[in-house]
Symmetry: C2
Subunit: 384 residues, 2 copies
């Protein structure tokens, strides 16, 4: 098992070296045939064409065990599916509509620091403009402190402006905070935040999809934003001008169907224009305090919501993958797993794991040699 | 006809003297049997009980013709249904849920100033706290100027803070503005705004439901708020603390099913707390500019909306009364007007007038001796 996991890690590390973060070809190929098989297939010396040929050519010069070893000596680890600390919520990216910058689940995440990445399942992303106002920075720090004090980690991007205020606020609130970087997790960017980021590496955690040593290219900020949104249970945009990059994070949160909140500000402030546009569009809800954010992200019952709209329905809080599987399960006549997988357009392994979870949640019941929807008291049957 | 109208005016002026603005007994009695008949009935010397007895006793000392004469000499007029300038949109109040302060359509409106009240069909209410910030006052003036410049009148309450900034902004925008007062329209309150309010009386218009000479009692501010909301096509709340009276106006706009907008502000500002609560609750939408307000209030096609949600359906923009009648009209088999009136729970006269309007709007068609819903291309029949 451990040997399998290390083969998986090496295959993913090797493949990740050949393409940029957010590469859809790679994400989809790995989802389809698995990282180990894909890696072996591309290293087989067989004739490849197109992207496969490019990747195969690059793989010839990649030595993942050596890379992983060197990274380990620098205090970095490459966290992959199968690791205890793997934050599996990022896999929802496989089912979120990609952006122009790419998308898909990351092959793995580089981490530097003592805190486990799976802790971030209980985290809030606090993001916003680099050109923030003192109002925005104060609010970001205040919100982050409130979330941190309530036991929620704060995820942000380590940038100047809102990001750094969020990290500092979380620390001031006595909580945990993680910075997701566009450069390699061995580096710090921006340099002005060296002290803060090295403190996070020492006491908390730095995260990156970019290979160690990688520079913070513009493209990597955009693909990084999707990791921030996918790690956190919800995203709050504190300040964002009309075309701010923070709106890119907001877009990912929305496409992941995660709670998205916006902090209002003066309508006379250009730094709030983008947030107000999000609020007007109905994609984000108004957040006036950390309490509002926690209300939105907390699971039902975990935190009392003061003003929810409409009753919650079974399935509302499932991951996109689980929802997709659930929708493929018939209401009356049980279907076999491979038939459900075909309807859902997913792999048999994924579907089988999701069905187990859905059975555990009483949403699906095993019946004969297949599965069908559980019937709930008073609930009408879907079209049979 | 003119004699009839003057009898109506005198009856309404007399009745209005006996009860406070927003009195539901009076509003409902007038709606049921008409002002002239109610007045005659109460003056008949017959034995009355309860509220009717109280009103009858008070009527003995009321001399409406003399009151109207004296008011006319002071430059006041009592505008009632049947007058060309009657702003009939306030009659929607008869179908809005009352508040603890009362409700119902006003019996008439006292006006002082050269502008006709029916011009206010094309108006926006700009309201907010008396204890406003300079931010709020600036925004109120800016929004009001924008609405005024676009040809929309600005209605507000003449109070310090947001109200006076809205009136001044409308004037600065070269437009029309009306103040609805809690005291009689012959008086000015607050005294600090004497100059502004007298200017409105000279060039625009002061409006009040309170009888001439009436003092600005606390209760009258609340019933006054419903007149502001009912006169205007939509209401924008610029600043309001958590328990601000401005939220009372907002509540009326919501119950009238008129567009309600809120201007966001810093979450650190107590003066924006009430507005943010409105926005969070979904009752108000975000307004960041006069343009947003005009988008919300303008009739379809009159002003291009940049971001509407969902397609508009026939009937969406009807008054509550017309909607109620429309809902009572059967889809297939035509029904007689008196049957529709019974289903709608409205008077035969009101229903007959509403049916004429609905026929003119192609929503209802006459069929034999009755009325049925018009069928629209591609639209499914309601339950037949």
């Amino acid at each position: 098992m451990t040997a399998d996991l290390e083969r998986e890690r090496a295959a993913r590390a090797a493949l990740a070296r050949t393409r940029e973060p957010g590469d859809l070809w790679l994400a989809r190929s790995v989802a389809e045939i698995g990282a180990v098989d894909l890696h072996e297939h591309l290293r087989s010396g067989r004739h490849h064409t197109g992207t496969a040929a490019e990747v195969a050519a690059l793989l010839a010069d990649v030595h993942p065990e050596r890379d992983l070893d060197r990274a380990r000596r620098m205090g970095l680890r490459f966290v992959v599916p199968g690791d205890d600390e793997w934050p599996s919520q990022v896999e929802d990216l496989a089912f979120a509509e990609p952006g122009t910058e790419g998308g898909g689940a990351p092959l793995g995440l580089w981490a530097r620091g003592p805190r486990r990445l799976d802790e971030l399942a209980r985290s809030v992303a606090v993001v916003g403009s680099r050109s923030a106002t003192t109002y925005g920075c104060d609010v970001a720090a205040e919100f982050a402190a409130g979330c941190a004090a309530a036991g929620w980690a704060v995820v942000s991007g380590g940038a100047v402006g809102i990001d750094v205020s969020a990290h500092r606020g979380a620390l001031a609130g006595g909580g945990h905070t993680a910075a997701v970087l566009a450069c390699g997790a061995d580096k710090v960017y921006p340099r002005a935040h060296e002290q803060l980021l090295e403190h996070l590496a020492a006491e908390h955690v730095l995260v990156s999809e970019t290979v160690p040593g990688g520079a913070p290219f513009k493209h990597r900020f955009l693909t990084r934003n999707r990791i921030i949104a996918a790690l956190a249970a919800g995203t709050v945009v504190v300040e964002a001008a009309a075309r701010s990059g923070a709106l890119n994070s907001a877009g990912w949160a929305a496409r992941l169907n995660r709670p998205l909140l916006g902090v209002p500000g003066p309508v006379t402030s250009a730094s709030s224009e983008g947030v107000h546009a999000l609020l007007r569009s109905g994609r984000a809800t108004v957040a006036t305090s950390a309490e509002d954010v926690l209300d939105a992200v907390a699971a039902v019952g975990e935190h009392h919501a003061t003003d929810r709209r409409g009753p919650e329905r079974a399935g509302d809080r499932l991951s996109p993958r689980h929802q997709r599987v659930l929708e493929a399960v018939p209401a009356l006549r049980p279907a076999a797993a491979d038939s459900i997988a075909r309807v859902a357009g997913l792999g048999a392994g994924e579907v089988s794991a999701a069905l187990d979870d859905l059975v555990a949640s009483d949403l699906v019941v095993p019946d004969g040699r297949g599965w069908r929807l559980a019937r709930r008291p008073g609930e009408e049957l879907p079209d049979a």
